[in-house]
Amino acid sequence: MDTSEYPLELPADDRPMVRFLNVNKNYGSFPVIHQLNFDVAEGEMVTIIGPSGSGKTTVLRILMTLESISSGVIYVDGKPLTHMVKGGILVPADEHHLRKMRSSIGMCFQHFNLFPHMTALQNCMEGPVQVLGLTKKEARERSEELLTLVGMIDKKDQHPSRLSGGQQQRVAIARALAMRPKVMLFDEVTSALDPEVIGEVTNVIRKLVAEHNLTMLMVTHQMGFARDISDRVCFFYGGKIEEEGSPQDLFGNAQRERTKQFLSAVKEAR
């Protein structure tokens, strides 16, 4: 891929927290993400909705460097994520560069993925101690602070197998936050939860939006929740952004046909 037309770094006056430039991702010959150009401003809360297979989860996974892209460049806080600067040009990033950039991004998964052999507190401390180089004491203080934030401080010495789904997901959020990321990704974090505990998790996210200036990107099926807290909603279809706008605009007055079809199908399901 010829990277010469991409900047080595984003200029100071045009520096969104996240920028996708002409990003394509193919599985074999099948295009999952198609010529995606997409910005997320600092402190913005963007929700991505869309049918399955539309590429929305893939967007998050690419940003978390769990998967690679086929072409294009992604920038985080002005610096290239998927590429690195070598000899004055952009070349595909090596593992070392990816690991450096990864710390700026945190992710919470649909199936929580807590480490089963560690307590809630140890789960949160792992990253800060092993990667950020904090002392155990510092990591513990930070983790306890975050566990208090998500309301799980009294269960800090429990193993994940003793916690309900909602509790595990809250610990997972604390674990991600412990790395002090610049961008937080939420991949269908309530889809695997029983309905009565979904509120626990969405309330934590509400708190984060209200009290912190984190940049957040969320994939969800909880339309009401998305409407309440998002700054912007993007409807994905076929690997592209079909339509985007403020929650009021998208949910209340969708323009495109596919968006309207999707939203009415979701309303019926509820």
């Binding site: 978390m64 460097t65 769990l66 593992e95 690991r99 990864r102 710390s103 991004i105 945190g106 992710m107 998964f109 199936h111 993925n113 807590l114 480490f115 089963p116 052999h117 307590t119 792992e126 990253g127 092993q130 990667v131 429990q158 193993h159 994940p160 197998s161 003793r162 997972a172 674990r175 991600a176 412990a178 790395m179």
Partner: protein
């Protein structure tokens, strides 16, 4: 000669032999574990240069007989300038052999750890080494413990072969007793019972205990 008299007369030799067997077993186990983890991890490596030697090692040691390997290490290696004392040659062969089987157990257990764990570790930026050491291997441990229990019993049985290069283990002692006294039933029978006791009442309960500890660490108890 009735069995009690037999035991009373020959217990010093039997005890000494059993002690040697236990030492050979422990040394061979140590080697097997190190080899199994090293080769198991190597076989999972993305790098061809690391993966292929591991595959070759595993196939050779699993594809040939332990006795052949033992004789080769003891009789042929000296021709290459490496002369090992027989007790070391003994537990080395058994350890290298069982390590090859163990490598497959390690590899299978690591692959059994759910993908989500790898991804979560990546999401908090853990380096591959830390990720393997602190997240994946501890979880792989409880998957691999039951088959390792069987492997260790096989390892114990394997140590009996070192008697064939004249290491004075239990097997060697009873062969001597048999050669001197022709009390074959008593001699070999006693040895069989001792091996059985070691396997069933020492190794197996110990492994069960390890399995219990491992699942407790996963908070499952």
């Amino acid at each position: 000669m009735p069995i009690w008299d037999f035991l009373r007369t020959y217990s010093p030799a039997l005890a000494a032999g059993t002690l040697t067997t236990c030492i050979e077993f422990l040394m061979a186990t140590a080697i097997a574990v190190v080899v199994a983890v090293a080769m198991g991890l190597a076989k999972l490596s993305g790098r061809w240069l690391i993966r292929v030697p591991a595959i070759v090692y595993i196939e050779i040691f699993r594809g040939t007989s332990l006795l052949v390997q033992l004789y080769w290490i003891f009789f042929v290696l000296p021709l290459f300038g490496i002369t090992l004392p027989k007790s070391i040659a003994g537990f080395l062969s058994v350890g290298l052999n069982c390590g090859a089987y163990g490598a497959e157990l390690v590899r299978g257990a690591i692959e059994a750890v759910p993908r989500g764990q790898w991804e979560a570790a990546t999401a908090i930026s853990l380096s591959p080494g830390v990720r393997m050491r602190r997240i994946i291997l501890p979880q792989a441990l409880s998957v691999m413990l039951p088959p390792w229990g069987n492997l260790l019993v096989e390892l114990l049985k394997g140590t009996a072969l070192v008697a064939l290069i004249s290491v004075s283990d239990l097997m060697f002692e009873v062969k001597q007793i048999n050669a001197m006294t022709y009390l074959s039933a008593q001699a070999f029978g006693t040895a069989l019972v001792i091996y059985y006791l070691l396997a069933r009442f020492l190794i197996t309960p110990f492994m069960r205990w390890l399995e219990h500890v491992a699942s407790r660490r996963l908070g499952k108890v």
